[in-house]
């Protein structure tokens, strides 16, 4: 399979501040998701744990994005770096809801050889 057609997964794993889960989800869908899609990412999953909005505890949210290979990841990255509002989102508005977060890039183990063959 050509590397350009391999699906790459970009996963945001976010723990919200207590009571902020629903508000963050709403803000994210309104302020972040449309622009991320415009940068070429596809939102494959939105997951909430536990599946109840907690009023005085943290929720954990997973956003699973996909991109078509290295070129798709670079295209989204470079488009984001040209937009100063993106850094403002993560460091300002989003940060107000977030206790901790990680982002990581994943691929199917069966695709590692093809992705590394560059």
């Amino acid at each position: 399979m050509p590397a350009s057609s391999i699906t790459v997964f970009v996963v945001d794993d976010i723990t919200t501040k207590p009571g902020s889960g629903a508000a963050f989800m709403e803000a994210c869908e309104r302020r972040y998701v449309p622009d991320a899609k415009a940068r070429g990412l596809t939102l494959l999953h939105r997951l909430v744990s536990p599946p109840v909005w907690l009023p005085d505890q943290s929720n954990r949210l997973l956003f699973v994005w996909t991109a078509p290979g290295a070129a798709g990841v670079w295209a989204a990255k470079l488009a984001g770096r040209a937009d100063p509002l993106l850094a403002e989102w993560w460091q300002g508005e989003a940060a107000a809801f977030i206790e901790s977060r990680t982002r990581a890039v994943f691929a199917d183990p069966a695709d590692i050889a093809a992705l590394n063959h560059v």
Binding site: A3, V8, A70, A71, V73, W74, K77, G80, R81, L86, A87, W90, Q91, R101, T102, R103, V105, A107, L115, N116, V118
Partner: protein, 231 residues
């Protein structure tokens, strides 16, 4: 070893003859520098960005020799004449360094690439050390990198207060635009230090990426002997 590098952007209104005149004058001034065992002056190739028109680079045996040469009257006169006139030179990014880690073996001729970084997003000592360790591990994964060097600057001027100089040599352009850019160790791992979407974001989005053709080794041979080629 003490090294200095400039990315030089000429004024856009200069014609080809004036550009060549500038290049020849800088080449002559560089050749007249005392104690400069190695010098590079090459036009940047298309695909570079924030890179200007020329990469200028000189290497000295140590900081004392380098600073003495660059403080000498003949170089200072030439530098003032060449760079002070804003109708001729629009922008100069300047760095100099002595502290660097590197390895590999130059292909002798091919492509030299330099990136200037400004690590200005919460740059704690721990984060800087992790960034540097992951960056210098790139050649272990990306085999097209034939020689490399990561330096922390002692002098920096220009668009940003540059903190790091990341250089590589490749046999050909495909090694840079293909393997280096498209390897997952780069875009799925090290690049998180450069991406404002990641919590690890460290490096200002304004960076310089410049590359040129070479006909002789660029990155220091002394470092190549000190650090064996990567696996």
């Amino acid at each position: 070893m003490f090294e200095a590098l400039k990315l030089i952007t000429l004024a856009p209104q200069l014609g080809p003859a004036e550009r060549e005149q500038f290049r020849l004058a800088l080449q002559a001034a560089t050749a007249a520098l005392p104690s400069a065992p190695r010098a590079l002056l090459e036009p940047v190739l298309p695909g570079s960005y924030n890179a200007g028109d020329f990469i200028w680079r000189v290497s000295f045996v140590d900081e004392r020799a380098g600073r003495r040469a660059l403080a000498g009257g003949s170089w200072r006169d030439a530098e003032a004449q060449l760079f002070a006139d804003r109708s001729r030179v629009a922008q100069v990014e300047h760095v100099a360094w002595e502290r660097a880690v590197g390895g590999g073996r130059s292909p002798g001729r091919g492509i030299h690439r330099v990136a200037l970084f400004c690590a200005n997003q919460s740059p704690s000592a721990e984060r800087l050390a992790k960034f540097a360790a992951e960056t210098v591990a790139m050649p272990q994964h990306i085999r097209s990198i034939r020689s490399w060097q990561l330096a922390t600057t002692s002098d920096a001027d220009g668009s940003r207060p540059w903190t790091h100089v990341w250089e590589q040599e490749y046999t050909d352009l495909e090694g840079l635009t293909g393997a280096y850019m498209m390897h997952p160790y780069h875009w799925a791992h090290v690049d998180r230090w450069f991406d404002p979407e990641w919590p690890e974001w460290l490096v200002d989005c304004m960076l310089c990426h410049a590359f040129c053709a070479t006909s002789a080794p660029v990155i220091g041979s002394a470092l190549s002997q000190a650090c064996p080629p990567t696996a």
